[in-house]
């Protein structure tokens, strides 16, 4: 294979991994911006989305099953997210570190529940035939480059979700409230914005998007009780790199992490890549501790 083709292939891989990170990190970043809490059970929303895709395909087999699975996974994960917000996160939200620990407890319980329900080995979701093609180049400089349809599909879904959320935040009334609460919670609340409800909506939206991402993950490999875990740690790093609750920052950070991982894996194996990614993050915060997009705060602490 031509070297350029290989490199372009890796860059393409990087972008498709980045799309997964965007979908996984979007909810984390939005809620973090609003409430300063991180939901450690967010990875299990991916897992839930995967299992919901599996179940949906049992009910609706055939080529369009996956399209049915997506709204099902979104709604399922959003509902679970709403329950989680109402029961655990809201009552702890003044204590971000405790929220982290409590939601980690939730994550453990969800993983174990999946293990008991579906087994530890995992279930397989077969990609529909219309996603089974690959675009291959056999001539010229790109000779040998193959772009699987599933990966293109991931890119398209991520772009759609990102566009949708951006529209929601920037153009709708709900989005206006979200931005208001983001900037100054007490003032927004004083002006009559129901900040509580905004928290809940954004949280549920974020977990719903993670559920959607879970459907995509199911197309790439088996759904296991710990499938979310392998994506959630890079997603956390994305949140750190992105800057407080910024959509643009999260997107750029996802692409950075995705590309970094894909390109570094040309030279080193996956485990070393993980170490280098962490080193990259630590190096990055030496230069830009406030993240890709800086947000100013007037509070003494925070």
């Amino acid at each position: 294979m031509h070297e350029t083709a290989f490199l372009i292939g890796q860059i393409f891989n990087g972008f498709s991994v980045a799309s997964l990170f965007i979908m996984a990190a979007l909810g984390l970043a939005l809620s973090f911006g609003l409430m300063r809490v991180i939901n450690m059970a967010h990875g299990e929303m991916l897992m839930l989305g995967g299992y919901l895709a599996y179940l949906t395909l049992l009910v609706v087999p055939g080529p369009l099953g996956i399209l049915v699975a997506m709204p099902v996974a979104f709604i399922g994960a959003a509902l679970l997210g709403a329950v989680l917000e109402l029961t655990v996160i809201h009552r702890l939200s003044a204590r971000p570190l405790d929220t982290l620990l409590a939601t980690w407890g939730v994550s453990l319980i969800l993983q174990q529940a999946a293990r008991n329900l579906f087994g530890a080995i995992g279930v397989q979701v077969v990609a529909p035939s219309w996603l089974n093609h690959t675009i291959s180049f056999s001539t010229g400089i790109l000779s040998g480059l193959t772009l699987p349809d599933t990966r293109l599909f991931i890119l398209a879904v991520a772009a759609l979700i990102l566009g949708g959320v951006a529209l929601l935040i920037n153009k709708t009334r709900l989005g206006l409230y979200v931005r208001a609460v983001n900037q100054d919670r007490p003032i927004a609340a004083a002006l009559g914005v129901n900040a509580r409800l905004i928290d809940l909506c954004v949280f549920a939206l974020g977990t719903g998007v993670a559920g959607l991402a879970g459907v995509i993950l199911a197309l790439l490999g088996p759904v296991t009780p710990t499938v979310g875990q392998s994506y959630i740690v890079p997603a956390f790093l994305v949140v750190i790199l992105g800057g407080l609750g910024s959509l643009v920052g999260t997107t750029i950070a996802s692409i950075m992490v995705g590309l970094f991982t894909a390109l570094i894996e040309i030279y080193v194996d996956v485990s070393v890549a993980q170490v280098l990614l962490l080193a990259f993050v630590i190096l990055f915060i030496q230069i830009r501790p406030q993240g890709v997009i800086a947000v100013r705060s007037r509070a003494l602490e925070g």
């Binding site: 973090f32 300063r36 809490v37 991180i38 655990v88 009552r91 702890l92 003044a94 204590r95 971000p96 570190l97 405790d98 982290l100 620990l101 409590a102 980690w104 407890g105 939730v106 994550s107 453990l108 319980i109 993983q111 174990q112 293990r115 008991n116 875990q229 740690v233 956390f236 790093l237 949140v239 750190i240 194996d269 996956v270 485990s271 070393v272 993980q274 170490v275 990614l277 962490l278 993050v281 630590i282 915060i285 030496q286 501790p289 003494l300 602490e301």
Partner: protein, 350 residues
């Protein structure tokens, strides 16, 4: 005599007499859990008093454990002859890697048990804290560290023993460590180190350092705008916690006869926090009691109903953190409440 000092003396006497009071199986469990409690003491120092939550203490535990295990693995081998640990031969390594050589010396290993985690903790925390990355961010970065460390240990099988870790030890500095007598000695050393660490931290938290650490937890910027640099207090606390974890890891390796990636990764690291959350994050004896309690419970539950343990652990986290933020020790004492317990009340007052 005050009841508190009476309890202290009784506990010390019971702990010291334990090798002759309980079965050797129970003693080995107690020894392991006491080794864990060194980690817990470090978490109490950083998280409870310093407000720094690390989800990666397993890394320092592992560094200490592996530093000693490398020596135990080399014990009895004739290095000049080209002898190698068994797993290296199986992995097809041709010669002992250079960084293994110094660990043939037991004293070098012992120094490394404390120094390697200490230096690594200092460098890591300095890099992160100097750019004022703290709170949730720090927790997430330490978790990524735990993940990277465990994955690296697994993948570099030829140098680390991979997934199985390092095991099958027989002697340390020429002494047999497998006999029942040795088990008692190792237990007593562990017990002594826990007691010494307890009193050391009690002294430390009573000094102005302790006050500064709590002040930094309460309001890092306020401390800064009073003319103090909060960085060294945080780095020193984190470094001490790393060293305690390293010691714990080494002692655990002696008790359990094994150190492996499964003991140092993301899940074990966060489990270490639950010991302290249950026991009480602001009370030294709470950290130790929580470690013993949670681990004995784990031993009971997971041998009877293995899948139940993860539910129990998850539930324990949610309940302890939501309803008992002071932990068990919080029921007996009135610890100084960190800011986050009071914020609600403060908000209500304003």
């Amino acid at each position: 005599m005050k009841p508190a000092s009476l309890i202290t003396i009784l506990t010390l006497a019971l702990g010291a007499a334990a090798p002759w009071l309980i079965s050797s199986y129970e003693l080995s469990l107690l020894g392991r859990f006491l080794a864990f409690s060194l980690v817990a003491l470090g978490i109490m120092l950083t998280w409870g008093e310093g407000g720094i939550l690390s989800l990666g203490q397993g890394v320092f535990f592992g560094l200490g454990g592996y530093a000693l295990a490398m020596n135990l693995k080399l014990a009895g081998l004739n290095l000049a002859n080209g002898d190698m640990p068994d797993f290296m031969q199986w992995s097809g390594v041709s010669a002992l890697p250079g960084f293994w050589y110094p660990f043939a010396n037991p004293w070098f290993s012992l120094v490394c048990v404390v120094l390697v985690p200490g230096i690594f903790a200092a460098a890591f925390s300095w890099l992160v804290f100097r750019r004022r990355i703290g709170g949730v961010y720090f927790a997430l970065i330490t978790q990524a560290l735990a993940l990277a460390f465990a994955t690296l240990l697994v993948s570099e099988q030829a140098f680390t023993g991979g997934f199985n870790g390092l095991t099958d030890f027989s002697t340390f500095a020429g002494h047999d460590i497998t006999s029942q007598g040795a088990a008692r000695v190792i237990y007593l050393i562990t017990f002594l180190l826990v007691v010494a660490s307890y009193f050391f931290l009690r002294w430390l938290l009573g000094t102005r350092f302790g006050t500064m650490l709590r002040a930094t937890r309460d309001g890092e910027n306020r401390v800064r705008f009073l003319g103090h640099n909060p960085l060294p207090y945080k780095v020193v606390a984190f470094t001490l916690a790393g060293m305690l974890s390293g010691m714990g890891g080494a002692l655990f390796t002696l008790h359990a006869g094994v150190i492996s990636p499964a003991l140092v990764g993301v899940v074990p690291s966060i489990e270490m926090v639950v010991w302290v959350a249950v026991g009480g994050r602001n009370v030294l004896w709470g950290a130790i009691a929580g470690t013993l309690l949670v681990n004995f419970a784990k031993d009971e539950i997971s041998s009877a109903l293995p899948s139940l343990w993860l539910y129990a652990l998850g539930g324990l986290f949610i309940l302890a953190v939501s309803f008992l933020p002071g932990g068990i020790a919080g029921l007996f004492t009135t610890p100084r409440m960190p800011r986050f317990f009071q914020r609600r009340r403060q908000e209500a007052a304003e």
